[in-house]
Each structure stands twice: as structure tokens, then as C-alpha cells.
């Protein structure tokens, strides 16, 4: 019988993977990097939330969303609206025509704060909005698509189109959203300056803890019957439907959870980087995040984090030296992974980690235990069968 802790940690192999990742993120990187570089890693780790959501949705559920950037963006914008309002107090904006509203609104001849900005003066509301707005949005899209049994390529294209529409909308509605520049010059959260080094360290750790929280949440979902059903649906959707399950409900729920996880990443991005712009909402970032998940291994939650870190490290190194080549390299990387390593980094690890003798023994012991359990229960089952 699986206990809750077993479910969350994923057995011996899972504990080892989590411990290594925690060691890297919580100890090695903060000790080895200066705050500028660490802040950059923190930014990459916010993308890992999206990669994680894609492992749930795409790797396990077989639902490819090419529009996860919109949820990342919605979470990020919610956070940015709160921070922007705090940065736009009447004293620091007294040179504006209308003091007390965000600067870009003033430049666009707005004279009052739009109604939907008002509630973002409250931090509790903002936090709720970060979690709920993207989820409701995902629910509406999911309901409309999955109840009509739209899936596969069509779903991917539609999510891509919606991400594009959203980014165009944000750019077009300059007065309300800050347009193509996004929402910039964010300074404090409830008076706490988020630009200082100490704040960056704290935000990095908050981000890391939230990321592990999301890994645990995802792992709980995947190890429950729900997770088994996701795999079953990916394989034989009809069979699941004709076993008495409303398949669309399961897809909608997964899409909503994936949206919420992405949004948390977006909000942490805004806090650590200090701005949010439409360039994180549209098609290109959405597809990049699919590549992160693919490189890490689309079935592996932990792999998604490594994939994100690795690709972004590559991006930083290569785009500094060969900026115009980077996009080609990224495309090539994606093709190579799909063709030669369909299970990504996690697949390579799985294949080779087994060869390390002490690991091999450790994992084998556990496997044996499981088989023994079935064998002994099998006998019980036989007895029951005979009695009945």
C-alpha cells in the first residue's frame, strides 16, 4: 500500500532525484554564483513552472498546448498590476497630468484608473487573482474545446491562436496594459524593495520552494488514479470513455491545473525580473517552453526543471557569442531531441543510472518488494475466488 509520503516522493528513485535537484537549486547554485547570475537562474526557474505544467498536460495527458505562455503572462500581469499601482503613488507621479495612476496610462491620456485595475490595490486579491484568473480562463477554453471533443493538432493550433490574440490585445490596448513595453519600473511590494540583493536572494528561495511545491502537487496527481487515467486516455481515449468516465472533465481539470502552475511561474517572474511584457505571452515563448519540457523529458517532472535550466544556459552562452545563430540552434536542438532522445534528459538518465552498481541494487530491492506484494496478495485473491 502506498502512503502519502511515498506518493509525493515517488519511491527511492524519486527521493534521490528530488534530493539532487534540491541540492543543486538550494545549495550549489546560490553558493557558486554571484547575485546577478543567481537572479538569472531564478528567472529560468520561473519558466520551469511552465515546463512542469507541460509534463502534466502534454507528457502524461497527451494534450499539447502551444499557448502556455498566456497563463504565464496572465499570472505575471496580475502581479505586475499590483506592483505598478504601488509604484504609482501620487507623490512619485506628481509630474503627471493625473497623478496617482500608472505612468503609461497618463501618457495615453487616461484620466482615471480603469475599473478592473482597482481591486489590484489589494495584495490578497492579487494573489487570489494570480491563481484564479488563469484557471478560469483555462476552464473556459477547456470546456469549449474538450466538451466538443476537439483534441490533438486542432487543440494545439487553437491554443496557439489564443496566445497570439492575447498578446496582440495586450499590445493594442496600450492605455490599459502598457502596450508593447509591458508594465515596467516595479519597485516595492508592501514597502519592501524588491530590487535589492537581499530581496533577490529571498525571492529566489521563495521561487524555489514554490517550484518544489508544484512538483509535489503534480506528483500527487500523477501517482493517483487520476494520473493512471491520464496515461490511459493518452493511449486509448475511447476505452476510458466506455469504461464510464467523462473524459472531457479530466482534460479540463488537467488544463486548469497546468494553467495555475504556469501562472505561479509568471508571478514569480515579475517579482524577480521587475517587469512583465507581452513578449512572454505570445507564440514564441509558448513554443520555447514546449522545447524546455521536451529536452528535459516530457514524462519527467524533475527532467523538466533540468531541461529548462540547460536550454536557457545554452541560450545565454550562445546568444552572447552568436546571437543570430541561436534560433537555428534551438530549432535544431528540438528536432534532435524529438528524433534521437524522445524521452529527453530524463530518458538518458534512466538508461545510464541503472548501470551505477549501488543505484542498481537499491532500486532493484524496491522493485522486488512490489512484486512480492503482488505475489502474496495473488494467493489471497485465489482463496477469495475459491470461496466465492
Amino acid at each position: 500500500m502506498k502512503t502519502l509520503s511515498d506518493k509525493l516522493l515517488g519511491g527511492k528513485q524519486g527521493v534521490l532525484g528530488l534530493a539532487l535537484l534540491a541540492l543543486l537549486i538550494m545549495v550549489i547554485l546560490p553558493l557558486g554564483l554571484d547575485i546577478f547570475r543567481l537572479n538569472l537562474v531564478g528567472k529560468y526557474l520561473t519558466y520551469a513552472f511552465v515546463a512542469l505544467s507541460l509534463v502534466l498536460l502534454w507528457g502524461n495527458g497527451g494534450i499539447l498546448s502551444l499557448g502556455q505562455g498566456m497563463f504565464f503572462g496572465l499570472g505575471g500581469y496580475c502581479m505586475a498590476m499590483f506592483l505598478k499601482l504601488e509604484a504609482s503613488d501620487p507623490i512619485s507621479t506628481k509630474i503627471q497630468t493625473t497623478p496617482g495612476i500608472p505612468d503609461f496610462m497618463d501618457w495615453n491620456q487616461l484620466t482615471a484608473l480603469p475599473w478592473f485595475w482597482e481591486p489590484f490595490k489589494s495584495l490578497p486579491f492579487t494573489i487570489l487573482a494570480i491563481l484564479i484568473v488563469p484557471t478560469i480562463f483555462a476552464y473556459i477554453i477547456g470546456f469549449a474545446m474538450f466538451k466538443r471533443r476537439v483534441g490533438g493538432v486542432y487543440f494545439a493550433i487553437i491554443t496557439q491562436a489564443i496566445a497570439l490574440i492575447l498578446s496582440i490585445l495586450i499590445v493594442g490596448q496600450q492605455g490599459y496594459t502598457g502596450g508593447v513595453n509591458g508594465i515596467t519600473d516595479l519597485k516595492t511590494m508592501l514597502g519592501w524593495d524588491i530590487r535589492t540583493d537581499s530581496a533577490k536572494y529571498i525571492l529566489y528561495y521563495v521561487n524555489a520552494l514554490l517550484l518544489f511545491g508544484c512538483i509535489f502537487l503534480s506528483r500527487y496527481i500523477l501517482t493517483s488514479k487520476f494520473g493512471m487515467l491520464l496515461l490511459a486516455m493518452r493511449d486509448k481515449e475511447e476505452r476510458v470513455r466506455f469504461s464510464g468516465y467523462d473524459v472531457s472533465d479530466f482534460k479540463i481539470f488537467t488544463f486548469c491545473v497546468a494553467a495555475m502552475i504556469s501562472a505561479i511561474g509568471g508571478a514569480m517572474f515579475t517579482l524577480q525580473v521587475g517587469f512583465m511584457s507581452p513578449s512572454f505571452v505570445g507564440i514564441v515563448p509558448s513554443i520555447e517552453m514546449v522545447i524546455f519540457a521536451a529536452v528535459g523529458g516530457r514524462m519527467s517532472l524533475i527532467g523538466a526543471v533540468y531541461g529548462t535550466l540547460l536550454v536557457n544556459y545554452g541560450k545565454t552562452v550562445f546568444s552572447e557569442t552568436y546571437p543570430e545563430l541561436w534560433l537555428f540552434l534551438m530549432g535544431g536542438l528540438f528536432i534532435a531531441v524529438v528524433m534521437f532522445f524522445p524521452d529527453g534528459l530524463a530518458g538518458i538518465y534512466q538508461k545510464h543510472a541503472r548501470k551505477i552498481p549501488f543505484l542498481k541494487r537499491w532500486v532493484a530491492e524496491e522493485k522486488q518488494k512490489q512484486t512480492d506484494a503482488h505475489a502474496s496478495h495473488g494467493k489471497v485473491g485465489t482463496k477469495l475466488g475459491a470461496e466465492a
Binding site: 488514479k225 493512471m228 476505452r239 473524459v247 479530466f250 496478495h377
Partner: protein, 247 residues
């Protein structure tokens, strides 16, 4: 239509695909605990009838009553929950999951989103999985990935997945296709065992197999019933010999 004692009562059922009537004013009644075999030439509408009953295809007109409950308006999963199980022609199992997981996923508890998140592998679930696994002769292969099973074992596994749900009406589309002679015999025994307390509809071409299991045979032709009755009666029928069995 008034209520009846039949477990399944199909009346005036018609489905038309762009004017072509695959099933044409069909009337079919199945008793409780009956094992009915449906035979007929290719394109007779056999599989379409099963599709209509389980909701995969929507009827153009007519009614399907299961325990006097109208099925034509229900969604697929609601029909399953009412007690109708369907096995597809090609074995439809979850290749990535183990035999154990295939059976457990089919257990009729935790069918909602939240129910499945909170589902616990309790003793009664395990006992049921082991019992069904024994019934379908896969007791020793519980930890095997389903993709590695032989074709015949996959067919059994799918039947087992349906048994997990304890349906009152079980519909099997060519359950012995691609099986060896020995496997056919074992499947015939299995079907005779499981129809003790439920009704079963089987579509089959193999006449030897049909003889072993059928209580009553229905012959379909061009979406209509050509003949119905015991195996001997049907085999002697002139029209049946003409269109299906051959001289």
C-alpha cells in the same frame, strides 16, 4: 413503448448515414441472463447496432431501452454507469500500463475528477482485481506491461476490464478473432461462466464457436433481422443459407 421484462428492448431503431440505412427499423429483445449471438455477412450492421446501444453512434429514430431506461439520449459514460459494458473489435487496452493497472483503472469507483484524485487502493479493490485476473487467466501476469501480452491475452484483458465494472449487459465484438484453437475453447468456457448472472451479446463469425456459446442466434442482413432462434433453426433457414452460410 411500454415497460417490459427484457433487459434490453430495441424497437424501430434506425440509423442513416447520408441516406444509407445501416440499421433499418430493427426490433431486438434480449432476456435476463441470456447469451445472444449476432451473426451476419459483412456490412450487415452488426457492429453498428453495438455502437448504437453504447452511444458511440447516435440513432436517427427508434428507441433502446435497458432495464426500461431509455439509452438513446444518454452520453456514453452515463450508459456505462447504467450497466452496459462494451468490448471493441480490436483489443482496446492501455498498453503502457500493467495488467494490474488496466484492471484497477476499470474499477467502478472514483469515476469523477475528485473521486479519482482521492481514490485509495483498498483491500476490496485488490481482491476484486485478483479475482477477475484469475477468471481471465492472467493471475500470474499482473505486473506485466499490457503491451507485452499475446493477442489472445489482450482480448481476455479487455473482457476482464469490463468484468471489473460488473455490467448487467456485456457486449463483445468478435472476442475470438485472431485466437488459437485452444484460446477459443478457453474463451468459450469463460463466456459460459460469466453469463451466469448477466446478459451477453456477442458478434461472431466463427460458427464452431457460436455453437459452443449461443443460447439464441440473431442473423442480421442489410440492417434488418433475417432470422432469429436457436442455432439449429437458424442454420436450417433457407434465407440464411442463401445470404450468409452458403450452400
Amino acid at each position: 413503448m411500454s415497460n417490459t421484462d427484457f433487459i434490453l428492448a430495441i424497437e424501430d431503431l434506425t440509423v442513416s448515414f447520408d441516406g444509407f440505412k445501416a440499421v433499418d427499423k430493427l426490433n431486438l429483445y434480449v432476456d435476463k441472463n441470456e447469451l445472444r449471438v449476432v451473426i451476419g455477412p459483412n456490412g450487415a450492421g452488426k457492429t453498428t447496432v453495438l455502437d448504437l446501444i453504447c452511444g458511440k453512434t447516435k440513432s436517427t429514430s427508434g428507441s433502446i431501452k435497458f432495464k426500461n431506461k431509455e439509452l438513446t439520449k444518454l452520453a456514453e459514460h452515463e450508459i456505462v454507469r447504467a450497466g452496459v459494458g462494451r468490448k471493441f473489435q480490436t483489443p482496446s487496452i492501455y498498453e503502457n500500463l500493467t495488467v494490474y493497472q488496466n484492471l484497477e483503472v476499470s474499477y467502478p469507483r472514483g469515476r469523477s475528477v475528485w473521486g479519482s484524485l482521492l481514490f485509495k487502493r483498498s483491500d476490496d479493490v485488490m481482491a476484486r482485481v485478483y479475482k477477475v485476473a484469475e477468471e481471465i487467466l492472467l493471475k500470474d501476469l499482473l505486473d506485466m506491461e499490457a503491451a507485452l501480452l499475446s493477442h489472445g491475452q489482450k482480448q481476455w484483458l479487455e473482457i476482464g476490464m469490463l468484468l471489473m465494472q460488473e455490467p448487467e449487459l456485456l457486449m463483445l465484438d468478435e472476442p475470438v478473432a485472431g485466437m488459437s484453437a485452444k484460446e477459443r475453447d478457453q474463451t468459450a468456457e469463460l463466456l459460459n461462466r460469466i453469463c451466469q448472472n448477466r446478459s451477453v451479446i456477442v458478434i461472431e463469425h466463427d460458427m464452431e464457436f457460436v455453437k459452443k456459446i449461443a443460447h439464441k442466434v440473431t442473423v442480421l442482413h442489410q440492417g434488418k433481422i433475417l432470422a432469429e432462434g436457436s442455432m439449429d433453426k437458424v442454420q436450417a433457414d433457407e434465407k440464411v443459407i442463401e445470404v450468409y452460410l452458403g450452400h
